[in-house]
């Protein structure tokens, strides 16, 4: 820049010389003298004006540039909401949460053509929807949003955020990041880190979940049981679509259980869910809304889209099970999940807490307590769970999770976690699962530039 300043100065000098010469010439008329002075003044002013960097910076009113945007709490909140919207796209585009979950496991049918290929485990078929489903980019978008939001929150000017806002937004960003990593590990197994300190590093599945636990642990301390709406009033509806303490605790317990750390999960659950907070419990789901970049399902749980064939339904919920009527509408040859609140897609429902307690207790060698929790969770079941043994408990719990959590997209992950994939998806052998059949293949985009190769099972032509 320096030489330009010199150039400008030189130019001004040139004008100035002309101006001085003009003044020295006594013959000039008053008018012309004034005019020349004026002109020279204008030139000088213009030169100085142009040299000012700020005069060449335009505030574009219709496009939000990053610089200086996040200077108020609502705008900082927008960056956090951006994470939710991206998370919604990751799970709702192509009915992904179902495809990764119950649709792949064969429990629920989704009325789209490619579901057939998903349920028959032909995940590398040449179908553009499947290509997108095998692309992990949308989850990394969530991680990027969360990391950006954390930076924005940390760099917010003093006084912009109240301590409540600071804690909630930070907690939400961490929870979003934790859950995105958790999904990545459960869908693809080993994946890349997208953190500054080890960006691009290849992490094993368990390393990913451990990283996720760190974020969820911090988030759990920050988010409240109930969130305040813009008027400062606790709002159950708002809490149900954003991370709250109940949801983050459930997430944390799930992550601990995924690592087989029953004691840890048990501690988390028992230390958090004390009897005096029963009224403040809230699930977590994704609010339905318009994505401005692409079409995503606006009524993802619509009876026309999701259904369970009657035979499957009868196998899962035998005659006499009270949940047949309370959770489903049966019409013709299929059963449809009853949607109590169509404005959101539940991912971490409150009803899972008892199941998590049961599993945590069981995996921490507290079978009797585990049975109590399972019986509490399984209200309406025809089975007598009080007679369960250490050996039979696992299957019973898996079945109850299948029944209770249908529609939340967790079924396939449960099969992996309980090591039951070949039992329920007969097309896969144990050897296939060892090779990686239970995970999704990697799209070309996920492989490109990230140093990965296709997992051993799906690499087979």
């Amino acid at each position: 820049m320096t030489h330009w300043k010199l150039f400008i100065t030189g130019l001004c000098k040139q004008y100035f010389v002309a101006f001085v010469r003009e003044r020295r010439n006594g013959k000039r008329q008053i008018l012309t003298s004034q005019v020349s002075r004026f002109t020279a003044g204008v030139i000088l002013a213009m030169a100085l004006l142009c040299s000012c960097r700020k005069s060449l910076t335009v505030e574009q009113e219709n496009s939000a540039v990053e610089e200086g945007y996040y200077q108020s709490a609502p705008r900082i909140q927008q960056s956090v909401i951006g994470g939710y919207v991206d998370f919604r796209r990751a799970l709702l585009a192509n009915y992904a949460w179902m495809m990764y979950g119950e649709a792949r496991a064969g429990d629920l049918k989704v009325a789209v053509a490619y579901q057939q290929q998903v349920s028959s485990q032909k995940l590398t078929a040449p179908d553009e929807n499947l290509v997108q489903l095998s692309d992990w980019g949308y989850f990394y978008d969530v991680i990027k949003d969360a990391n950006d939001a954390l930076d924005i929150i940390d760099n917010a000017a003093e006084g912009v955020l109240s301590s409540y806002q600071h804690n909630v937004y930070r907690g939400e960003a961490l929870a979003l990041k934790s859950m995105a990593y958790f999904y990545l590990a459960r869908i693809w197994g080993p994946v890349s880190s997208a953190e500054k300190n080890n960006f691009g590093a290849h992490l094993t599945r368990d390393e990913v979940v451990k990283q996720a636990i760190v974020y969820a642990t911090e988030a759990q301390k920050l988010v409240p049981w109930m969130l305040l709406n813009d008027d400062g009033i606790e709002s159950a509806a708002l809490t149900a679509v954003r991370f709250n303490k109940t949801a983050v605790t459930s997430l944390l317990a799930q992550e601990a259980l995924w690592l087989g750390n029953g004691q840890n999960a048990y501690d988390i659950l028992t230390n958090t869910f004390t009897s005096n907070i029963a009224d403040s419990l809230s699930g977590f789901g994704l609010a339905i809304g318009a994505d401005r970049r692409m079409e995503i399902p606006q009524a993802p749980l619509s009876p026309n889209i999701l259904s369970m064939p009657l035979a499957t339904f009868n196998a899962i919920y035998p005659a006499g099970d009270a949940r047949r009527a309370s959770m489903f509408n049966i019409s013709g040859n299929s059963a449809t999940l009853i949607v109590r609140d169509a404005s959101k897609v539940d991912l971490l429902p409150v009803r899972e807490i008892d199941l998590l307690f049961a599993e945590a207790a069981w995996r921490s060698e507290r079978l009797e307590e585990a049975k109590e929790w399972l019986i509490l969770a399984a209200g309406g079941a025809t089975e007598d769970y009080s007679t369960l043994t250490e050996e039979t408990f696992g299957n019973a719990l898996l079945l109850e999770r299948q029944r209770q959590l249908v529609g939340t997209g967790q079924r396939m992950f449960d099969l992996i976690r309980f090591d039951k994939v070949p039992s329920y998806i007969p097309v896969f052998t144990e050897a296939d699962v060892t090779k990686g059949a239970a995970y999704w293949p990697l799209s070309a985009n996920s492989i490109r530039g990230n140093g990965w190769s296709q997992n051993a099972y799906w690499a087979i032509p």
């Binding site: 142009c50 060449l56 951006g82 919207v85 990394y140 990027k144």
Partner: protein
């Protein structure tokens, strides 16, 4: 004859000289419009067609009021990009010259050729660099007529004629396959053209004045459509003192164009036959204003200070309604307004100095501010027709709010510049031109760019006694890279929680390395005068465009799709040959000819590494080959199937005069350009054909790949690849001057009648109607860049000068 009135004559002369030196750029070619063969079509560019070596004016559309594409040594990555257009100046100040996306009305129709004194064509680097980033692809400086000495002169010009399509074969019409029956009803011979211009001017010691008005109407050949333009203008100079003068220029225009549904757009009709267009509406209205005010003050010692402020404004609006009988039960309505304004302020000091009798210097130092401000607002909506009620009623009841889309966009851009030009003349033999310009742009974080140039011109006539002039130059200009990317961009991702919250995030991060595309140009030329009969000029140029801004796609764990980078290099070089013959010049008979031809080559010289992961991936197949290559897929590999740029193009103009009769014609031609036409039948969802092309009825084995709705991959078959070479009799005129009458009537200076024809004959093997009808060189399925048939027009006119 007194050329300049004595009182104030010296001052006026000096004024003219100094005003001309405001930008201190001399033109390479200077065309005097009064002696040119004009065109019946609106748009000043049409009179330049075939007249200047290297200036290609492509008559791509017969739609009235549309702008022919202009290219003067211009190249860009995108063949549809208006950035290759030369800078258009009116009396040295820039105007908004590209048509707006809303109405498509050509701003070069805003004035009549009768208003123009001359058009200077600037393409050599030592003249061009003074405009910096404004003129990377040449400049056309349109100098308007000024008042001539005398108290008052009146000149009137009028012509009227008709448009028609010669031997129209509807099957050759690019649009035919979309709508076979309706197409026949759309075109019709006999659309009238009429044009009237009145100029009043005078000059004296006070200065000079010229004012007037003009009207142009053209109904074209698409029935029910048409273009009209009316303008008022003033060009006045006022000598405030003998040293201080002011110059005012104003041109205000109202322009309108009515479109027709089946005639001009929506080629993707579902209905094969279009019924009545009774309620159809497409009204385009423009208001164009070009205004400038210049002040000039003469100091002693050959110093002049000038300051010119100008504004170029265009307001465009389009109102559209498509009734349900055209849209299979839906109705559609939209309204859009686009306001563009360009304000410039240029202040300079000019110093004419003689170091000795042999060495003289003409130096100008100046500064320029340029502020562009564009605002677009549009609303459009669509709804299904309910049972009952007429189409018209549905217009009145309005839209379903949920189906209405509103858009408002505002772009502001600032440019601040300083420039200096030094012209040294040694005797009459040697001219050395030095230019230095610095442009600061609001588009970049690193604001400033520097553009120097050096040019040497040597006349061998005195020293070696041979009639040869040689010149060489080297320098740099730039192209502004849009849009602004240096501050990063946030994107609205979607709505959350019942629409109560908006989720946003980063679309792309800030790019502090954003900068202009650099254009390095080398020129060399030689002019040989063979007696007074023949002038032969051969010019060579070589331009290298470097540092294009492109997107680098990131591995998908980054969470954003791309960042911006700069890189890549394109080359454009060419030889331009112009032959001016003044074969016979006697009292009763004269014969002059101009033949020009330009041979251009362009090439992708360098590409960024890992090109496949950039937005320039489509250039991967043309590395080392022309960027204008037509690239298609064959099987699973990309292949070059042609080149949309001609190997050579130019024009030939011949003018004969015998006593009172003059006859002139202009031929234009181009050869070696290929045209690929996309098929209307062979278009597939790639997945549905298992990514295997061609299928049964594909016309050629080649296909393009597009992204369709919902990110679906589309394979678009190519029907034909053809040679688009042509020779066209672009314009011809015969005129008769009634000199006997003008001699008898003292007040009458000239009386002329003329017959003039446009687009009279085209010889080409191209299977379509107009070999220039595709802007990009490939005819797309949706005909987005394809024009309507170009009509022939013949007009009878009269010109009277008092």
């Amino acid at each position: 004859m007194r050329l300049i009135p004595k009182p104030g004559g010296k001052a006026l002369l000096f004024l003219l000289v100094s005003i001309g030196a405001v930008m201190n750029v001399l033109a390479q070619d200077s065309l005097r419009v009064d002696s040119m063969l004009l065109s019946n079509r609106s748009g000043v560019e049409n009179i330049l067609q075939g007249r200047v070596a290297g200036l290609r004016i492509k008559s791509w559309s017969g739609t009235t009021g549309a702008q022919s594409t202009l290219n003067l040594r211009g190249l860009s990555l995108d063949p549809t990009d208006q950035s290759t257009m030369p800078l258009i100046l009116i009396n040295g100040v820039p105007m908004i010259a590209g048509p707006s996306n809303i109405t498509g009305i050509n701003p070069l129709t805003y004035f009549s050729p009768e208003q123009i004194e001359r058009i200077d064509v600037i393409k050599d680097i030592d003249r061009l660099a003074a405009y910096g980033v404004q003129a990377p692809n040449g400049a056309l400086n349109i100098i308007m007529k000024e008042g001539k000495p005398g108290s008052i002169h009146v000149r009137a010009n009028a012509y009227a004629g008709v448009n028609f399509l010669q031997n129209m074969d509807y099957k050759r019409d690019a649009f035919y396959d979309f709508n076979t029956t309706a197409r026949r009803d759309v075109y019709g011979d006999g659309g009238m053209i009429n044009d009237e211009t009145l100029l009043v001017d005078g000059a004296g010691s006070y200065g000079s004045y010229l004012f007037g008005l003009s009207n142009h109407q053209d109904k074209g050949i698409i029935k029910g459509s048409g273009f009209g333009r009316q303008n008022l203008f003033l060009n006045a100079k006022y000598n405030i003192t003998d040293r201080f003068s002011a110059h005012f220029y104003n041109n205000m225009t109202l322009a309108n164009r009515n479109g027709r549904y089946t005639g001009e757009y929506s080629r993707d009709l579902i209905l094969p036959v279009v019924g009545s267009e009774e309620f159809f509406m497409d009204k385009n209205r423009n208001l164009g204003l070009i205004s400038s005010m210049g002040l000039t003050y003469l100091l002693d010692h050959g110093i002049t200070i000038s300051s010119v402020a100008s504004l170029s404004y265009e307001g465009s609006s389009r109102d559209m309604y498509i009734p349900s009988n055209l849209l299979d039960g839906d109705i559609y309505a939209s309204s859009a307004a686009y306001k563009r304004q360009l304000i410039t302020w240029n202040t300079s000091v000019n110093w004419l100095h003689e170091f000795s009798d042999a060495l003289k210097m003409d130096m100008t130092l100046g500064g320029e501010l340029r502020n562009t401000d564009d605002r677009l607002t549009s609303v459009n909506g669509q709804r299904s027709l309910e049972n009952g009620g007429s189409n018209f009623v549905k217009v009145v009841t309005g839209y379903n709010a949920n189906q209405t889309i509103a858009l408002s966009n505002h772009n502001v851009e600032k440019l601040s510049s300083f420039y200096g030009t030094w012209k040294f003349r040694y005797k009459k033999d040697l001219d050395v031109n030095l230019v230095a310009r610095a442009d600061g742009s609001s588009l970049y974080d690193n604001k400033w760019a520097f553009y120097p140039a050096l040019g040497i011109h040597y006349d061998l006539k005195n020293s070696l006694s041979i009639p040869v002039k040689i010149n060489a130059g080297i320098g740099k200009t730039g192209v502004l890279s849009r849009p602004e990317v240096y501050r990063g961009q946030l994107d609205a991702y979607g709505d959350y929680y019942g629409g109560n919250y908006l989720g946003i995030g980063e679309l792309y991060p800030a790019f502090s390395g954003a900068k202009s595309i650099g254009v390095t140009q080398i020129d060399a030329g030689v002019t040989v005068a063979l007696g007074s009969v023949l002038d032969l000029t051969v010019d060579y140029f070589n331009k290298t465009y470097s540092d294009f801004t492109y997107q680098r796609y990131l591995p998908n764990i980054n969470g954003i799709d791309y960042i911006f980078e700069t890189g890549g290099k394109l080359g454009l070089s060419g030889v331009e040959v112009a032959l001016d013959g003044n074969w016979i010049h006697s009292t009763h008979f004269s014969w002059t000819s101009n033949l020009n031809i330009a041979f251009y080559r362009n090439k992708v010289k360098a590409l960024p590494g890992d090109i496949e992961n950039t937005s320039l991936a489509y250039l991967g197949a043309v590395s080392g080959a022309p960027v204008t290559s037509l690239v298609a897929w064959q099987g699973s590999a990309e292949k070059r199937i042609g080149n949309s740029a001609p190997r050579a193009f130019g024009g030939f103009t011949n003018t004969l005069r015998y006593r009172n009769i003059s006859a002139a014609f202009t031929l234009t031609y181009a050869w070696g350009q290929d045209i690929a036409a996309e098929s209307f039948n062979s278009r597939y969802d790639a997945q549905a054909i298992n990514y295997d092309f061609p299928v049964k009825n594909a016309e050629t084995p080649y296909y393009f790949i597009y992204e369709g709705a919902n990110n679906r991959t589309i394979y678009q078959g190519i029907r034909t690849i053809e040679d688009g070479s042509f020779v066209r009799l672009s314009r011809a005129a015969v005129s008769w001057h009634f000199s006997s009458i003008s001699k008898r009537i003292e007040a009458l200076s000239d009386l002329e009648i003329f017959v003039r024809g446009d687009n009279l004959l085209t010889l080409s093997r191209y299977s379509g109607i107009n070999p220039e009808e595709n802007i990009t060189g490939s005819r797309r399925y949706d005909l987005m860049y394809t024009g309507t048939p170009l009509p022939t027009s013949v007009a009878l006119g009269i010109k009277v000068v008092f």
